[in-house]
């Protein structure tokens, strides 16, 4: 157990060290820009995985909280002077916490229904949020959008602060995800996914557990949204709360491996840069949507568990076979050691 934890810690440190080094090694704007979107989707997918992967609820409204975070930050800095370019990064913390708290009553309401009903009702949450964003002109600017104060960073390393802030956010959400999966709490979530009624029968306080996962998901998604708004500087309802982004996050989670720690991160880093990159290089292939649909279906049918569990299984089998082969001479070897 402790050995596994140690290996996990080393792995995490290595990955984050590499990610931390990236903007200093590859200083090209476009690389850091694409990596920023990769990180953003990783945060979104890991956050979604808390409720969608661990607890098995197809939560289609999370992108509404992305938009909520975006608007919260943008509206805040309509009223607060931008004394320092780094101020909005710190403002994200209270915004994330506030969104998490706001999401709790909604969670209590929504989580009364399950499975497909939950999915539909959560999609309705997204639509309703979008309608509000459009119609509350005074607050959100409505369809005219809302501009952020321009980030006063130097042009040569303009993207770097955003990248690093998103990396910190990823570390935080990964830590939560890891901690939840390791703790009793994670067990409870898995129990809910397996059979919620039985879990409740066994004394799992299913509602509490679900609501906490839900609030964490919403809080982190909102923080990512705020950071996105600051980076993109101009937000419109249809982009801040885009159903297609929602499904892209889910696809990333499934591709990497839902319910796993690293799966959503991997899925995001495979798909998000690929999307930007192919849109750029293939320039307007009309087959974009069809290719996307085909990819979606391929993942669903041929990699339903995702890359991480599939590869892990493959490696485990491989290692077991190796162990069987090696089992003969091992006692002798141990004696020598």
């Amino acid at each position: 157990m402790s050995r596994a934890t140690k290996a996990g810690a080393i792995r995490a440190i290595l990955v984050f060290a590499l990610l931390l080094a990236l903007p200093f090694v590859f200083t090209d704007h476009w690389i850091v820009n694409i990596a920023f979107f990769g990180l953003m989707f990783a945060v979104l997918a890991v956050a979604w995985n808390l409720i969608g992967g661990y607890a098995g609820y197809i939560w289609l409204g999370s992108i509404a909280f992305f938009g909520l975070g975006a608007y919260a930050l943008a509206i805040t800095f309509q009223h607060v002077p931008l004394t320092s370019g780094y101020l909005p990064f710190f403002a994200l913390i209270p915004i994330g916490i506030a969104i998490g708290i706001v999401s709790i009553p909604l969670a209590l309401l929504l989580l009364r229904v399950r499975a497909a009903t939950f999915a539909v009702v959560s999609l309705a949450v997204l639509f309703v949020a979008e309608i509000f964003a459009f119609n509350l002109d005074g607050l959100t600017g409505g369809p005219q959008g809302l501009g952020m104060a321009l980030p006063p960073f130097v042009v040569t390393t303009f993207e770097r602060p955003f990248y690093l802030a998103m990396l910190v956010l990823l570390a935080a959400v990964m830590f939560c995800s890891w901690y939840l999966a390791k703790s009793k709490f994670g067990l409870m979530l898995f129990a809910i996914k397996g059979d919620e009624d039985r879990a409740r029968g066994l004394g799992v306080r299913t509602t509490t557990v679900k609501v906490i996962a839900f609030a964490l998901c919403c809080g982190f998604t909102g923080m990512a949204g705020g950071l996105w708004a600051y980076y993109i500087t101009w937000i419109y309802p249809q982009f801040a709360m885009d159903p297609n982004t929602m499904f892209a996050i889910i696809l990333m989670t499934y591709l990497g491996g839902k319910g796993t720690l690293w799966g959503p991160v991997l899925g995001a880093f495979l798909l998000a840069p690929a999307k930007e990159y192919f849109a750029y290089t293939l320039g307007g292939s009309a087959f974009y949507l069809i290719a996307y649909a085909a990819l979606f279906l391929l993942v669903m049918f041929f990699l339903p568990r995702g890359v991480v569990p599939t590869v892990a299984d493959f490696l485990a089998r491989h290692r077991r076979r190796a162990a069987v082969l090696a089992s003969g001479p091992r006692p002798a070897g141990e004696q020598v050691a």
Partner: protein, 290 residues
């Protein structure tokens, strides 16, 4: 007051068409626990088929409804065997994602064939109307309503009176017992999905005479259809039809006075009803899963 009544009339006319679209969604859910996100894009597909029949073959969309239904039935059966039958595990949740992928795939294909320009099936009577008691009744919307009612009537008759209809209803209400009585759930599901898709396309054929549409139009529609099905109670066709009429009237009336908030009123009604009746207005008791 005059406007209010007029709003109700228009709401009922439109609600009938939505009822036809949503009843297929409810039927499919009832039989196989699949939430077909692609239902709306099939409506648009039906609109395009009718549009093509009208502009190329000069066939009136009202007449095209029948061949379109047949073609789309076959299409639906094909979709079922290709994409839905293979989902064994976690069908309720996975089917949402799979049918979403199907939806954007069809959207992409429509974009390739027809481009994303707005189209409209402009029949000679597209802008005609006649007056009844001081109300201008749009001819197209009345025809669309009547066609929808006729198809729904035929569907109801089929469900009530035929062997296949009994099997469909049986599979919805108690799949295990239906299997014990010799119902091949797989085949019934395929047929049910085919019917669901063909009703969507039939509704689409008439929808295309009322509204301009392009391949993206299904995003707006699916929200409405899902709201209707949730309000009516999952899996209940009767519920879907009644909910479609209720929501049609509410949306039309709100539209007259506060157009911006019509969509919200739509979802608002759904949320309020769900608070008090989580199973919707006519939730089908499914004894096998209780």
């Amino acid at each position: 007051m005059h406007l209010l009544i007029y709003g109700c009339i228009l709401g009922i006319l439109l609600g009938g068409v939505y009822g036809l679209m949503a009843s297929g969604l409810a039927l499919v859910w009832g039989i196989m626990r699949v939430l077909n996100i692609a239902q709306a894009v099939c409506v648009i597909l039906g609109s395009y088929l009718a549009f093509t029949a009208f502009t190329v073959l000069h066939v009136d969309p009202m007449l095209a409804v029948l061949p379109i239904s047949v073609v789309m039935f076959v299409f639906g059966v094909g979709i079922y065997y290709a994409f839905l039958r293979p989902i064994r595990r976690d069908r309720e949740s996975l089917s949402i994602l799979v049918t979403y992928a199907i939806a954007i795939g069809i959207e992409g294909a429509l974009g390739l064939i027809y481009t994303t320009s707005l189209q409209h099936t402009g029949t000679s009577y597209a802008t005609q109307s006649f007056e009844v008691g001081g109300f201008q009744i749009p001819t197209v919307e009345l025809y669309a309503f009547l066609i929808s009612v006729a198809i729904l009537g035929l569907l109801a008759l089929m469900l009530q009176r035929t062997r296949l209809g009994r099997a469909l209803r049986a599979a919805t209400q108690n799949p295990t017992a239906a299997r014990l009585l010799g119902v091949d759930i797989d085949r019934v599901s395929a047929v049910g999905f085919g019917i669901g898709i063909s009703t969507a396309a039939a509704a689409g054929a008439v929808y295309g005479m009322i509204y301009s549409f392009n391949p993206n139009s299904h995003y707006d529609l699916i929200g409405i259809l899902l709201a209707i099905v949730v309000l009516g109670g999952f899996g209940s066709m009767r519920g879907a039809i009644v909910a479609a009429l209720i929501l049609g009237v509410i949306a039309s009336v709100v539209f007259i006075y506060w157009p911006l908030w019509a969509n919200l009123s739509f979802f608002g009604v759904v949320v309020v009803v769900l608070l008090f009746r989580p199973q919707g207005l006519w939730g089908v008791p499914n004894w096998a899963t209780q």
